[in-house]
């Protein structure tokens, strides 16, 4: 397994990723542009629903032409793909708007290109997800390891009960509860909707994100603590742990160097998936704390029938998941020498 094989593997996986994204876009596109046709709507009706309030006949006609709604759905999809790969020109009256590649189209509501909106919203989601991920990874794994080592102890039982609570309580409950206590009552942290980008005011950015981080991390930390505990317990029963002890290694070395490393690999897989999903928008958390991230954008777009934006967010989320999955698999091979990429 030389570097060439690793490269070949990554290329093959990237090709697979592109196919996967194609499929995602096809399905999403189909749901929004093909299903209405199946349901018997005329192209005029469809176009009308995209124009907004009080559609005029000209506006409908213009929209129809602009979106190629009179063409077969397959062609429409082709235009969409072409936009992503090569960019697209949109006729708006006498002017021609060029939307450079990767072009995800124009928002129906704001008439702005979709991509800049996504880029505008991404930092908030990224801040939220990355901070929470760090928090839950560290705390979840630590609690899980301690629980496994003191199996059956008070600490173990307490941790697992709390973990059960964390897994079962929904974000909007824990989120609102924490807001009520720490923001409105104790006034330690600012309330919802106070998010400022890091570039504007780092301190405020941090303060405003503490509660969302903790709330989101609580849910995941609980899950990771249970996962780590189970993984640790399994690893501690492995023959090579017995060997490590038989060599006379101090217990601390046995745990950190031999047991922990093996039990972390399955966690890595889950972590990649979870983070990927969150990067596409932590919908509940963003809504609860009014953080202007991708999740909020998606909700707003769905509510307003802003299809290009919905499609854009979906594609972006899928891209995150697929890419992180690839990263995880490559990391996996780096950690476990038995895993061969191929």
């Amino acid at each position: 397994m030389g570097p060439f094989n690793v490269l070949a593997y990554i290329i093959r996986r990237l090709i697979g990723a592109v196919l996967m994204l194609l499929l995602v876009s096809l399905v999403t596109f189909g749901i929004f542009f093909w299903m209405p046709k199946l349901a018997g709507q005329t192209t005029d009706q469809i176009a009308a629903s995209y124009v907004g309030k009080a559609p005029t006949a000209e506006a409908i006609a213009a929209t129809k032409e602009r979106l190629h709604l009179d063409q077969p759905v397959v062609l429409q999809y082709g235009h969409y793909l072409k936009g992503i790969v090569a960019g697209q020109d949109f006729k708006a009256g006498p002017e021609v708007d060029h939307c450079p590649a990767p072009c995800l189209g124009y928002s129906f509501r704001t008439s702005q290109p979709v991509l800049p909106q996504l880029i505008d919203r991404a930092p908030a989601t990224l801040s939220l997800a990355a901070g929470a991920a760090l928090l839950w990874l560290v705390s979840g794994v630590t609690i899980g390891v301690l629980s496994a080592l003191r199996r059956g102890s008070f600490l173990d039982r307490a941790a697992m009960v709390i973990a059960l609570g964390g897994v079962s309580l929904p974000i909007y409950f824990t989120g609102l509860l924490s807001l009520a206590i720490f923001s409105y009552n104790l006034k330690i942290f600012p309330g919802g909707g106070s998010y400022r980008p890091f570039s504007e005011d780092p301190l405020h950015w941090f303060e405003s994100l503490v509660l969302p981080w903790v709330t989101l991390a609580f849910l995941y930390a609980a899950m990771y603590a249970r996962l780590t505990r189970a993984g640790m317990l399994e690893t501690l029963g492995e023959d090579y742990i017995r060997t490590a002890r038989a060599k006379g290694l101090p217990e601390k070395t046995v745990i950190t160097k031999h047991a922990l490393r093996s039990s972390l690999t399955p966690i890595l897989t889950v972590f990649g998936l979870d983070l990927g999903l969150l990067l596409g928008g932590a919908v509940l958390t963003e809504n609860t704390f009014s953080i202007p991230g991708l999740g909020q954008l998606a909700i707003a777009a769905i509510n307003g029938g802003d299809l290009p934006v919905v499609l854009g967010v979906t594609l972006l989320a899928a891209t995150f998941v697929v890419l992180l999955n690839l990263v995880v698999d490559v990391l996996y091979a780096a950690i476990d020498p038995r895993v061969r990429l191929g």
């Binding site: 094989n5 070949a8 290329i11 093959r12 191929g342």
Partner: protein, 383 residues
Amino acid sequence: MSGDTTVSTSKTIQDAAKPAPEPAPEPRPQGEVMLEVDNLGKHFPVTAGLLRRQVGAVKAVDGVSFSVRKGETLGLVGESGCGKSTTGRMIMRLLDPSFGRITFEGRDITKLSRGQMRPLRRDLQMIFQDPYSSLNPRQTVGAIVGAPFRLQNIRTEHGVKRAVQDLLELVGLNPEHYNRYPHEFSGGQRQRIGIARTLALKPKLIVADEPVSALDVSVQAQVVNLMEDLQDELDLTYVVIAHDLSVVRHISDRVAVMYLGKIVEVADRAELYERPMHPYTNALLSAVPVPDPSLREGRERIRLQGDVPSPLDPPPACRFHTRCWKAQEICKTVEPPLVRLSPGHEVACHFPENATVSETDTVAKAAVAHGASPDEAPLADQD
């Protein structure tokens, strides 16, 4: 199989390097051929690169031929990776052969579909190694042993329960344990349950893959005896796959030794163990630890160097030449054919051990017939 060689039987026995002391060789079962395997092979493809092209193949089984007569037991021995289990699974059609032919009772079953195999499953059954994982823990013994009746839609005279209880009794279990679960039994008893299930449909041929290797010594003997009793009682034919040469010797009528996907020697049991001809067979027998400390010293030991080569890239010609102390140039260039040297004794080796002059001659002629130059083939330099 080269049937064109003629060897005088009486001469062979007289010239045998080690006289065979086994008392009055029991008459070999001369029944009709039940199973015939002809040039059977299984290659597992190995892929690599961007387009996952096939870059090679694990030649797990690479052209084996043998036949099993009705009522006899054929032992398949060899070390891990020699392809013995793969062969067994192909006979059962649990794996599809890459090439070759399997004939069961005169019928070619190599290409039969699952549906076409179904009625044949009555006749062909398998005993597995692990009595712990091959029984469904959530089913009672009654359900496990009775499953074949239901699957094959067979009406039993006094109902399935009675039939199952008869089977349990047959394999030495208490029929009243009909409603118990596998975990309530010990390893040996579980293997008995497995055997009872196998026997439910009165099979003709049973392939047993390491039937006793997971069991304790004292229990192993019980299961071996049980298998022998059942063979007499029910007229069964066995193919026993095992790595333990002592067990194979005890249970088999004929033994085939496999190395890296090939059969290197087949012989009647007494012949094989008293006059092993292939160097590999000799090495295997010599490596078995003998439970007699007085034989510790002075016993001639053949110690093979290194490990079995990878079946992904087996050595050319004779696959054993990399570890063989008798190997010469010809072993690296001409593959030794499996030659019948005496009745019921076939060997694939250019320089067999314990061979008579005429046998060595036969080997040399066969080598020439397979493309060796007469100088290479050791026609002359025999003593």
